[in-house]
Amino acid sequence: MSDDPTNQPDERYDGRVDTDGVARQRPVYTESQVIMTTVKAVIPFVMTYGLFVTFHGADSPGGGFQGGAIIASVVLMIAFAFGIESTRAWLANSTIVGLGTAGVFLFGAIGFGPILLGENFLEYTAYYPVFGDLLGLKKYEFVKYGMEAVEIVGIAFIVSGILMGLFFALAAGDSRSEPSEADFREGDLRDGADSATLGGESDD
């Protein structure tokens, strides 16, 4: 372990600039034919299995959490095989954030619906008068399909979105690990002064 990490020349820093203009430390990506070929072959099956686990949560071990994690692992495998930056370029940030937030929003919407229809929160049978004839379901079947809807459309989206997002956020490394100009200013304030005065300060 080094005694002073900031002084040690870091051979891992390859000087590339990220899509938002910040130069970050990255582990160097080495291409491996074995991993690439394996991943290319295996990914469709993993994705299918993830979807299977998500959809069959009611009758066998599985459900939203587990399925979402498996689906997120698909993107992680792609990142390991083909390099984190190229995966990040391919999978835009807005997709990941959108996935996670759409999950929360849909969960909230499915749960709120019964309140608008006069029943309690998450009471799926309240949908029966409205959608019963349209979908051809009996009243008690709404409970089963309501729970499945929440699991698949809500929880699986949230879990996969967050796992992917966190992976990329952590893999991007700490932008604080390089000593910044701010550290050398004298009398540095812990909370940071108001952004009203420090116009030249970058709000990070």
Binding site: P5, F65, L166, L170, D174, R176, S177
Partner: protein
Amino acid sequence: MIDPGPLLTTDLIGLATTRHAYLLFVLLSTIGLYMLIANQNLVKKVIGVNMFQTGIFLFFITSAYRVGGSAPIIEGAGPYVSPLPQVIVLTAIVVGISLTAVGLALSIRLYNEYGTLRADALREVIGDE
């Protein structure tokens, strides 16, 4: 002051052979807690927390089990194992994963900042600041 009677008349061997899951719960939780307290490496502390929580999950699942019971789905016949503790453990596992994720992310940040993963070294360095 402490009455030794009940302790001497408990069937300890019977306890160990029939209720071993509860003994395992105590063992796992204590080992996890000891790891959390005694080990100086931050990552091992996180592992200790995980082990502590795994012991607790074992306790819940054991309380759900019925000898000869089947999965709690109506198509199956006969006595069912209780589904409520299973759901509790599922939720608690997810909570545990999130805690592990946050703990490891903080450990990475501490390592980048101070260059060490040892809690005693960190205590000295930060105490001096």
